[in-house]
């Protein structure tokens, strides 16, 4: 049994998933997609919507690009990515507007900015362009989930400290003083810096020169 599991860890799909979730995690190893991860994480619900939106767009884009990879001339590949990505972002935007209008309002232009989220582009250029559909799907999915859980961690800390709530349910005592700075940009920057510090030490990421 143990041997079987160990054997499994050497297969390609397994390696791809581990890379996306831990070793090449988009946020703390490659440091991509920072803008959205900071700007919308003051509420947990926004973080969930953003994470799922980015996951959906990454998966869909990777699958499409990977399926078309033999037909895309390399000179126009960037603009092809852009068109595919923005099409799916429009889907996410319309979906949010129709079913979750309050979240859509709170996120404002940041839904549209999934287009320029480097993670989507990075997976399309770095992985999907060279690999078959199944692997691209796994890679995009694990990267998306890796991104989502990072967003969740940051947003939970921020919402507890800045508003005393999680998903708008009060968890801190009524006497809790809200840390207003944490709901705004400075707190976000410092919190992400601390998070990067812990995670990069744990994951043993070598700092680039």
């Amino acid at each position: 049994m143990f041997k079987k599991i160990k054997k499994l860890t050497y297969t390609r799909p397994f390696r791809i998933i581990i890379n996306g979730l831990w070793k090449d995690n988009p946020i703390f190893c490659m440091v991509l997609g920072i803008c959205s991860s900071l700007a919308i994480t003051n509420r947990v619900e926004n973080a969930i919507a953003m994470g799922l939106g980015v996951t959906f767009v990454t998966v869909a884009t990777s699958v499409i690009i990977s399926a078309m990879r033999n037909f895309i001339p390399s000179r126009v590949r960037m603009i092809t990515y852009m068109v595919v990505i923005s099409t799916f972002v429009i889907c996410v935007d319309q979906f949010l507007k129709a079913f979750f209008p309050t979240i859509s309002e709170a996120m404002g232009p940041y839904v549209g900015l999934i287009i320029t989220n480097c993670i989507v582009m990075g997976r399309a250029e770095g992985f999907a362009m060279k690999n078959p559909v199944v692997y691209s799907f796994l890679d995009a999915l694990s990267c998306g989930i890796g991104y989502t859980y990072t967003l969740l961690i940051i947003s939970i800390i921020r919402e507890i400290l800045a508003f005393g709530t999680i998903l708008r349910y009060r968890v801190m005592p009524q006497t809790w003083t809200n840390w207003v700075a944490l709901a705004m940009a400075p707190g976000a920057f410092v919190l992400l810096a601390l998070y990067l510090w812990i995670m990069r030490t744990l994951a043993k990421v070598e700092p680039e020169k």
């Binding site: 404002g108 287009i115 400075p186 990069r200």
Partner: protein, 196 residues
């Protein structure tokens, strides 16, 4: 809402700085802020490209998308306009101003995927700016971003010479801390001008 365009310009540079209050354009801030000279080049190119694309997108949105009632595809149209105009600028520079091309050429492809170019266009639509306000807002935002990247890279250059930074903090994390302190400082401008 009737704000004077000049107020929007000032507000976009200081109290509503696009990098430090809206947290946009982080990727280049982290990746290209190691060297003051490159940061300056990047800043100048961003000022130029953001203003240009915002103006083009304003015309596209108000003259084509609004009359045909097809705002739903504005994301695709905006991103294509941005990519195309960046490509065009690159080709024009190569043909007519080779020295400028050598200086700024490497930054131009990077700018296409810079969030703030698209963000300025999206904010412009969201806040329903007219033409003059769009120009002021776009150039102000870009100048604010350029100020940020130049400041960060100057601080980083000095810091790396003298400071003994812990291993996990090196690279992006220390940049985030610098940005955090800078944005605290910029919060001091907060009450200066109010725009939506």
């Amino acid at each position: 809402m009737n704000t004077h365009p000049l107020l929007i310009f000032i507000a976009a540079i200081f109290p509503h700085n696009i990098a430090l209050t809206y947290i946009l354009g982080m990727c280049p801030l982290i990746a290209i802020s190691k060297n003051l000279k490159t940061a300056f080049g990047m800043g100048i190119s961003v000022i130029f490209v953001v203003t240009l694309t915002a103006v083009i997108n304003w015309f596209v949105y108000n003259l084509i998308l609004l009359p045909t009632n097809s705002q739903i595809i504005s994301y695709v149209i905006f991103i294509i306009t941005i990519a195309a105009s960046v490509q065009l600028v690159e080709m024009l520079l190569e043909r007519f101003f080779p020295p400028l091309q050598v200086a700024f050429g490497i930054f131009l492809p990077l700018i296409t995927v810079n969030c703030i170019v698209l963000a300025v266009s999206l904010f412009m639509v969201l806040r329903e700016y007219d033409f003059i306000k769009t120009v002021c807002f776009a150039s102000g935002s870009a100048i604010g971003w350029a100020i940020t990247i130049v400041t960060v890279s100057a601080i980083k250059e000095k810091l790396l010479l003298i400071a003994d930074i812990p291993k996990g903090l090196k690279g992006p994390a220390i940049t985030m801390i610098i940005l955090g302190i800078l944005s605290l400082a910029f919060m001091g401008f907060g009450g200066m001008v109010k725009i939506r």
